[in-house]
Symmetry: D2
Subunit: 334 residues, 4 copies
């Protein structure tokens, strides 16, 4: 960590600060310039409150030189991490095609969608059982019954399943779930992350609507600090001033996350855009940006079919998109 002191700092003020820093077990390397003094802080700076130092009157600015994330960093583990999800590999060249309905609604629905997305090339089945909704009066999902139905679809099709957890107390229900999703709103629910760190389940960690790339990696770090290294990161759009799309899909996060971390990264173009017409182009763009997988909403319900169009793709649209996605993957691998 580097702290730049203001020009008019007195010797007395500086030595008070330096003594305090040394009492925190840091080596302090002082480099005096004409216009400012730079303190280089060496040692375990991760426990130091950067904001506290930055807020001192004599301090011009503070800068972390080393990244705050460790176990998820590519410096820590240079090779790509490959995650095995119920026999399906993700990362390190293995591409995940995750598809399924927004919510599990019935046995017929989930099995029909599962079969159709499998036929179209999907490798994992997604479906919401516990649904985070802005309003307490909105449909909150089928909950435990939804997970039961997903497990039936898994048995029927052989596809591993992914579904969202909202409460660590529900963990027993997720025993046979292959990949547990942490939704955007819970990305900094640190208590939930800690509990998931104590499991041996693969975790799909979605980026929060207002969270930075660094914060996403720090949330992965929370899970890893507990001993669970099987994490897949997911970009699903961030909140900006633009209102034409529901969120703004930040695709530059993909190559950046893959440079900073060894963890696999997937893209969810359905939630990001909230508009079925944008799902295909954003699925292709996400693939071209280097993602390790996609997560796409596919439905088969009649109101959509009748009126043609929704955030979800039809199975036919998904199949057509999946074909192009695999062609781009092949092209990148050349």
């Amino acid at each position: 960590m580097i702290a730049v002191l203001k020009k008019n700092t007195t010797e007395q003020q500086m030595s008070t600060l330096v003594d305090w820093l040394r009492a925190q077990n840091l080596d302090v390397h002082i480099s005096q310039g004409h216009n400012y003094t730079v303190l280089g802080l060496i040692g375990d700076t991760s426990a130091i409150d950067m904001d506290l130092i930055a807020s001192l009157d004599i301090v011009e600015s503070v800068k972390r030189v080393s990244e705050p994330f460790k176990q998820c960093s590519r410096k820590f583990r240079p090779g790509d991490t490959v995650i095995d999800v119920g026999g399906v590999k993700i990362g390190g060249g293995h591409f995940a095609m995750i598809a399924g309905p927004c919510s599990v609604e019935s046995r017929e629905q989930i099995i029909e969608v599962a079969k159709s997305v499998k036929a179209a090339g999907a490798t994992l089945l997604r479906g919401g059982a516990f649904k985070p909704r802005t309003s307490p009066y909105d449909f909150q999902g089928l909950k435990a019954d939804g997970i039961e139905l997903l497990l039936e679809a898994k048995k029927e099709t052989g596809m591993p399943i992914v579904t969202e957890i909202m409460n660590a107390a529900h963990l027993p229900l997720f025993e046979h779930v292959d990949l547990i999703q942490v939704g955007a709103r819970n990305m900094q629910n640190f208590e939930l992350l800690k509990e998931l760190g104590r499991t041996d389940k693969p975790i799909l960690l979605k980026r929060g609507l207002a969270n930075t790339i660094k914060e996403l990696l720090m949330s992965a770090e929370y899970i890893m600090a507990g001993g669970n290294y099987r994490i897949i990161l997911c970009e699903r759009g961030i909140r900006t001033y633009e209102t034409y799309t529901r969120n703004t899909l930040d695709l530059s996060a993909i190559p950046l996350l893959k440079e900073l971390s060894h963890l696999p990264v997937v893209v969810d173009p359905s939630h990001a855009t909230g508009n079925s017409k944008l799902v295909r182009p954003m699925a292709l763009a996400g693939t071209a940006s280097g993602a390790d997988g996609l997560m796409i909403e596919v439905h088969n319900d009649p109101i959509h079919a009748a009126c043609d169009g929704a955030q979800s793709l039809t199975p036919e649209q998904f199949a057509e998109t999946a074909t192009k996605v695999l062609q781009i993957r092949a092209l990148l691998a050349e």
Copy 2:
């Protein structure tokens, strides 16, 4: 709810949609113009997925006419709600002055700060016991011990206490806490909100970093839907592109929240700005904007004292600020 259909919608498409809407128990009022058709949907539209309808190909746009929040709305309860927190009233003309350290660190610290902020006019004592930290390697608070120390400070000074909860499983530890804080990162931790709705404790609900005013009210609605009506809203800054301040304090949210809702609203200028020099002007501005209270960090530790300045105010700075705040309050009440 109003749905505007596109110009080229066929009779067949429209009647499929109208039939489906009526099957959802809605009255549909059709008003046909030259360039578009407007469907007025009457009935309980709160259970209708607005995004689903908006995403249909034949739909130009959808608009909720009635607000999605109910019990927290001023339409539902026109008069100001007054919350009693351990004998201290907040709202409806009662102003709360909440002060204390960021984290509870020791018995001596919390009691010393409690005494000094009480002397300076504070009516509630704040102090962090469970701390949400971006990094798993940062200090996570004294936890249960921190709450014990707060309770000792309460006994010593008679001030009701407020501290943050991060996990519903910790609720038994909060039995004697007077006001339970839900932090910004947990504003949409719906499972936690539901649990708090089942308690009879006053809740201080902080606005999330990227949450809208509507979403803040919907989160209050989650707590109220469970039967707990004792909620105080808190503006503490939102995330924007500006980096000079830690967050951007959105003071226009204060009069807006007070127009939309009957719940009391307080302002936290310390976390919003992350800069002690901005705390006083933003405390005065928040008061002038019509807030029902302030929440201010006050410290007494030596590194701050030595180097003069931090996000926290010294007890002396707090006392001077509190005096001006009360003068502005008096002026507004004239």
Copy 3:
């Protein structure tokens, strides 16, 4: 336009508003529901100040049903517009590969870069002569001399050139420039847009850092309203809270702009990311999202070469990227 009136609006208030609206030459279609009254406003609503109506006490909300843009709308002209820039076609299946240095620095530099990007597949040469800089003390470009050097490079290589204009008074200097760029900071410099609307030059209009997709189209509309229909839109990143990248490239804007408008859309991955390592993946992603072209910074100067890396690509990196881009284009066209 649709205006929803509040429940407690009196007959008297409503008729005052309706009379005023009719005095603005609008037909008013009143549709009274149980809970609200909807006014459908028919006629030329483009001159009506939506904010003024929305701000009236009796008005719950106002909504434009028709888009505010006209000539740039795909409803106005369904087929893709193809722009001819000095013999190079852009749009309607014609892909533009625009490359060159950030700033024109010398005769040798611009000619060398021009030759190398041409060899690598570039079809237009870019280079900054007038440079918008945040600081008045930063290098402001070679100005008129820079344009002269670009024209020499054009003569030498036969490539049409594109460079930025910052002041309508400079227009005479742009006589032989093939494509005039309006930079992000001037996207709403309406006086400049009006002047450009009176020329017959193709215009490359960059999206402002905080401008919506609608505002970008409205700025195109300013140019078109003057009679100049030769406009190419450019997505170059928007300003968000994320600080790891310089801006956030909004690739979902590409398919959206192409749905809303008939104008060609290109992507500038260099300025958006400010990081050479992200240029290639974002160039590929932009292509996969359906863009009609790319605009990429390419350099040849020694400090970059020596230290390997910058926002700009080397000619070799550009050539490698261009090859993949064209493969993705071919794949999309299948």
Copy 4:
């Protein structure tokens, strides 16, 4: 400026960079740590492209230690600047109350509003003659005629006038205007700023919708670099994800700007909120935050009067607000 080099930088790479920096007339002070090397760059770093250095592969990060602004900095001129606008002083304890209609519409209108705001305590008259509008089809103002009418209102009431300029070519029309406004959309129209720097007119510089506090000061610096030091800064709301208010008024910018700069700062609560009910509380809050003045829209037209409410205040609402504002000013000065 400080550049932190990456751990694995070779001697050869470092000396190439150091030689290049020295060739730019900088002293380079090398301080080698265990984990990184810090280069302290001393000399005139304002001409150095920070992004270029930051983008080099061997560079971990770059940080300006000295602020990029000079003449507008409080370090350069510690005392408050007081600007004389047609005999009315602003800054250094002098508070400006600027009021008037959004647009000048007619002789009667502007003179009537001028008289009523003067009676209510306004010290300057505002009114739009050239109007920046998102749509080319919207009313663009009365232009030269509008300025003529403002000058008549000035003669009638003796109030100095402020109105917006959009084009340097219009400067002759502004000869008798007392304070020239640069609107938010033109804050980085550097060519306009340079022209205004060559005049001797006081300038009201509004913050752009997506511009940082630093960028606002750099735009002031553009004007000052030309020799015109008479600048008043104006906070008028920034663009965020919140849609309930038109923009988010960033009041923490007020004390921050006053700490960083000696220039006066005023607040425009009308444009920021777009909602007349929020104007009064935000005017009071802006005053309490330490602003040197306010800029408020006041109207007298019948549609507003009839339906009661708009972004503008009525003269009566303005008078009531002005009274409270002056009481808060008096209280802060105690």
